[in-house]
Symmetry: C2
Subunit: 312 residues, 2 copies
């Protein structure tokens, strides 16, 4: 029988789980709640229980399982040690060892959720066919994942691909969640786009269809597409800082492709157009003409990538 | 007999060559001129001739040679294809294949000179003991090399580690050699420091011991150490932009250590102090407290790194 692998993506509210064939087909997908009480001590037990139930139901033995991969919301070292997952209440411990013990599955890999999503997009999403890619997730914050030679770049402190906190504007006065000012996240996340819109509305310099008490990244991009000048200014800023950050990244690692995902990216082609234009203007000759792709797996990127981690 | 390897570093004027033991001791070092006539067609022939002579002199056979590594001034792909070495007159061809044919040595590796120098510093220089490092060479330009997991990050176009052209100042009016404005190289190279000094002298806003027709990076750092205010302003700009660029790099790849070399770095501790201060101010929490080291191999970093390339 062809082997299977589990992909698990631990979020703040639910744990997404998937059972995959080793060639990348998902045969089953489900979710369980993330029990955060008592510093999240039940989370891994719940996952192990759910994995065992699924194996029993599908009459799978340990020999049928190629491995189990887990994405977690925080920095993770190569060996599976988490440094701090504030969202889950976790401190420092080795997630891989714990899950091995709880499930009996030997091949357990653990990665940061943004990095794992990047690997998922490489395997079966917008980055399929590439080995060296950077994924940017434009959600509430800006997440990033770097894949080199088909493998996640973890970084020496598990903080590789933390591109949301590249400082792209030295003049910014507002403080980012990280404590610095001028981070990419302040311009390119959903929250960041709304922040820019609020500021622009306060200035009242341009007529606009945007309304202060009903702002969203979707509304801003929608208005920009319809020719709203104030919204177009915001989209221009968004594109400038995101394109600049991707240019910085390229100067360091020279990837093949950028894959852009997250809620903000649902605005569509306007995102790729703005970002690639600004990228080209700010990168040196040898790095021009990179591919820019839309992410394709949505919220499933994490389970795909987690499963893919165990197949090296 | 213990095997040996050759390390070759092709520069615009001379080719540096070294014979190494596989544990990193150089047993012989020499140079030959870089013959650039007829689009550099004699360069590799001269190298092969010199290698064969050295083997004959030391009664080494092909069985005694673990390999031959070459650093070249330009982008190189993983397979040894150079894309353009303007300094040598070279177009696109596979250097590794050519050298294999000319020398009979099977294990030939080719890398970009800045990347190769970084590998040399990791092997036997300021980065010894580390596996994930970024080397910054502050010379006429600003070169960079990224080592991850003990291996050179080449990049998909051979342009990995081109950190001298990270755009750190969006307000700059002067044009960089690459055609963009505001590249790191315009502030952190020897040429860049002199450029900043000239501009500062023209403004005549501060008294200074610096003299317009006798400017050098060395003079600027010397004056700054002696308390010259105008020179201190320049050093501050240098540190701000270099520290910022290293912060950007860290947000992408989270290395263990930065190794700083090149002529400008001879100014000593003041460089590390300025750069690390600005780095810490511009990087997110998880990436603070990186090691900053001085390069130790000087102009020999290239031959060390070239030799090291063949030992994987």
């Amino acid at each position: 029988m062809e082997k299977r692998c589990f992909g698990v993506d631990i979020g703040g509210t639910t744990v997404k789980m998937g059972l995959f064939t080793v060639d990348g087909k998902v045969t089953d997908k489900w979710e369980i709640p993330t029990r955060k009480e008592e510093n999240g001590k039940y989370i891994l037990e719940d996952i192990a229980k759910s994995v065992k139930e699924r194996m029993q139901r599908d009459t799978l033995t340990l020999e049928d399982i190629a491995g189990l991969g887990i994405g977690v919301p925080g920095p993770v070292k190569e060996d599976g040690t988490v440094l701090k997952c504030a969202n889950l209440g976790w401190g420092v411990f080795n997630v891989a060892d714990t899950v091995r013990e709880l499930t009996g599955i030997e091949n357990v890999k653990v990665g940061n959720d943004a990095n794992v999503a990047a690997l998922g997009e490489m395997w079966q999403g917008g980055g399929k066919g590439y080995n060296n890619l950077v994924m940017v997730t434009l959600g509430t914050g800006v997440g990033g994942g770097v894949i080199l030679g088909g493998k996640i770049l973890t970084g020496s402190n598990g903080a590789g691909g933390e591109i949301g906190h590249i400082r792209v504007n030295y003049e910014e006065k507002d403080v980012c969640g990280c404590g610095k000012t001028g981070c990419l996240e302040q311009y390119a996340s959903a929250t960041g786009v709304v922040r820019l819109a609020k500021k622009a509305l306060e200035k009242k310099e341009k007529k606009t269809t945007l309304v202060a008490d009903d702002l969203s990244a979707k509304a801003v991009f929608g208005a920009a597409k319809a020719g709203d000048e104030l919204a177009m200014d915001i989209v221009e800023k968004f594109g400038f800082y995101l394109g600049m950050a991707l240019a910085h990244i390229s100067q360091v690692i020279d990837p093949e492709v950028f894959v852009i995902g997250g809620g903000v990216a649902r605005a569509g082609q306007i995102i790729i157009d703005e970002v690639s234009k600004n990228y080209e203007e700010n990168v040196m000759f040898a790095l021009k003409n990179k591919a820019f792709k839309m992410a394709e797996l949505g919220n499933d990127a994490g389970i795909y990538g987690s499963a893919r981690m165990v197949l090296d």
